[in-house]
Symmetry: C2
């Protein structure tokens, strides 16, 4: 039992003063729950509940940040294939600080003051405090910022796996992606920059296009095109960039089709979203003669199938390293007080501005 | 030099009487040539030409049968990605009989009287006689029928590879395919029967549906459905058959979409044709959440990439064995005199009857 510590963390300092077995103090947690599917602002209820001491291998954390991802909204709407047991707590990502640990988890890696992110999916993270099993959490280095840590398990991991698992990319190779301004798109651009891969990003045309282009090129994009420019670009034909081996698609419809036309022989399109709500259209000739392959990626499934795969720790270590040296920043975001959840969940999928902004609750 | 033989083969017997080096006899060959792209009946010309003795590693064959495949028609129309050098000879498959061999090929595997099929693509097979290099030909066992041998290198090989190379199938597993009455479809049904795989075939509705169904079930299909029946079938939901791991698509459009809905989690759709001239439509959710994969297969590419792959001889040996024991028959076909080529190339893609019939030239 090593959670006695000299670190001074004002809000939770009471926990450091006595061993958990004898602590017997409770904390009042705020929790965003829902008991039925529907529009989040209607079905979510902010509740208060008393959380008592963590037992056995349990850990009590205080949440520092928890983002609103599109999948969180879709889950509450009942439109996502993951169906929670009611009553359910919203949210799937967070970063928290360990404020107390049970007796049984004392021998583990976690100690009071550690920052942790969920190592399991579906924990329900929209709450100010929570009790989790120690093995549901992963320690993150202390120097990782709240926004980076709170958003690491979904988008950077999705980008990482899609860039690693479908084709073999060498420095100088090209990746093309649509929705390049999405949170995942921003992570993909930065990962490509870190690995010396040319990332050509596609975004919808908009009044602030040049501002958005500058922002995304600042993150490391090799080029940013509108959907219209994509149709006629000669970047690949003229050899400015190698023909892409990999296309990452979160839009679908015509835009995905246009991207596929630029893919190199035997290229792969990985679909991880469908913002246009239109299917992916695949010309027969591109399958037979160009040998293109069309596959999908879902981080939730990958995590489920690779819980104990060493590739998983390897991935997180590499991501932490990139964050540490400033090569991977959190997506454009805004910290939102937990109490403003109605506004936040209502607007989360339609935040105005030149780049898709992510809301992150703070507590 | 071992082509002196006692076999009596009337038409070509003169070749057996003297060594090729001293033979110095010529043969008049009929050849279907074209010098520009266009409708086959218009651009093809039946020409006669003198073929002299095979030299070095060359082999003179007399063609016994050469089919008309859809790709042959599309090639002449200029709609196929393989562009011949003009003047070109039509056709890509045949079976021939070796009637003379050059000095240099004497040490090889071929001897006069052997039956051979092309081991290379693009040889131009619509001709009564031809000179090829010995290494462009593969000997077929003497007991293989002319129709089976003439049609072995495209459709049975396509079916074989698609069943072997994309998912791992065990006896009892299900494969679903559309265009089940096509020549390739008929081969796939028979290969599935031989390997104890349940093959569910889809065909367009037609007046002679029940006759066609009987024919295809006679070849070994587990079930035959119309496109309409496919939409509502409960064969897979109710567990009559396992959910298909593999869908083989030569149609595209709505029909391919309907097939994909029945695929098992992580199933693969392999596209090798697009008879509806509509693209393959892929719902985003089937890529992300169901992990379906959409790929293409082109026998021409496989052959090019696997010229010396031992898997190739293994495949042919297995196919010859199946033919030998009556487990793999030629597709429904009609032998057509070479002189009737205008009728044949005009009607080849639209042969009336309850099953797609293939025309095979004889000479």
């Amino acid at each position: 039992m090593s959670f006695l510590t000299k670190q001074v963390l004002p809000i939770t300092k009471q926990f450091y003063l006595m061993p958990s077995a004898t602590r017997n103090m409770s904390v009042m947690a705020k929790v965003l729950r829902y008991g039925e599917f529907g529009e989040p602002a209607k079905v979510l209820r902010l509740q208060e509940e008393t959380i008592s001491d963590p037992k056995d291998d349990e850990v009590l954390i205080k949440t520092l940040g928890a983002p609103i991802n599109p999948a969180d909204i879709n889950t509450i709407q009942g439109k996502y294939p993951v169906k929670p047991v009611f009553p359910a707590v919203g949210g799937n990502e967070c970063v928290g600080e360990v404020v107390a640990i049970g007796r049984g988890s004392g021998g583990g890696q976690l100690k009071v003051g550690d920052r942790v992110v969920p190592f399991a999916t579906g924990l329900g993270t929209w709450r100010s405090h929570a009790i989790y099993s120690a093995n549901q959490l992963m320690k993150v280095p202390a120097n990782i910022g709240v926004a980076e840590a709170a958003t690491i398990t979904v988008n950077p991991c999705t980008g990482y796996r899609m860039l690693k698992d479908f084709v073999s990319l060498k420095p100088g190779d090209t990746v093309i992606q649509n929705g390049a301004n999405s949170a995942c798109g921003q992570a993909i651009i930065q990962l490509c920059r870190a690995w010396k891969i040319e990332c050509v990003g596609i975004v919808r045309d908009r009044p602030e296009f040049s501002q958005l282009k500058d922002y995304l090129k600042g993150l490391g994009a090799a080029e940013i095109l509108t959907e219209e420019e994509l149709r006629t670009t000669k970047l690949f034909k003229d050899g400015i960039f190698r023909k892409p081996k990999l296309a990452l698609n979160c839009v679908g419809g015509k835009n995905a089709l246009e991207m596929s036309r630029h893919l190199d022989q035997a290229g792969v399109m990985v679909t991880y979203g469908g913002m246009s709500r239109e299917p992916v259209i695949v010309p027969t000739a591109s399958l037979i003669f160009k040998d293109l392959r069309f596959v999908g990626f879902w981080m939730t499934r990958w995590t489920k199938e690779n819980v104990d795969n060493p590739q998983r720790s390897e991935m997180f270590n590499e991501l932490f390293g990139l964050i540490d040296r400033g090569a991977l920043k959190a997506p454009a975001h805004e910290m939102i007080p937990f109490e403003d959840y109605e506004m936040a969940v209502t607007n989360a999928l339609n935040i105005q501005g030149f780049v898709g902004k992510k809301y992150i609750f703070n507590f």
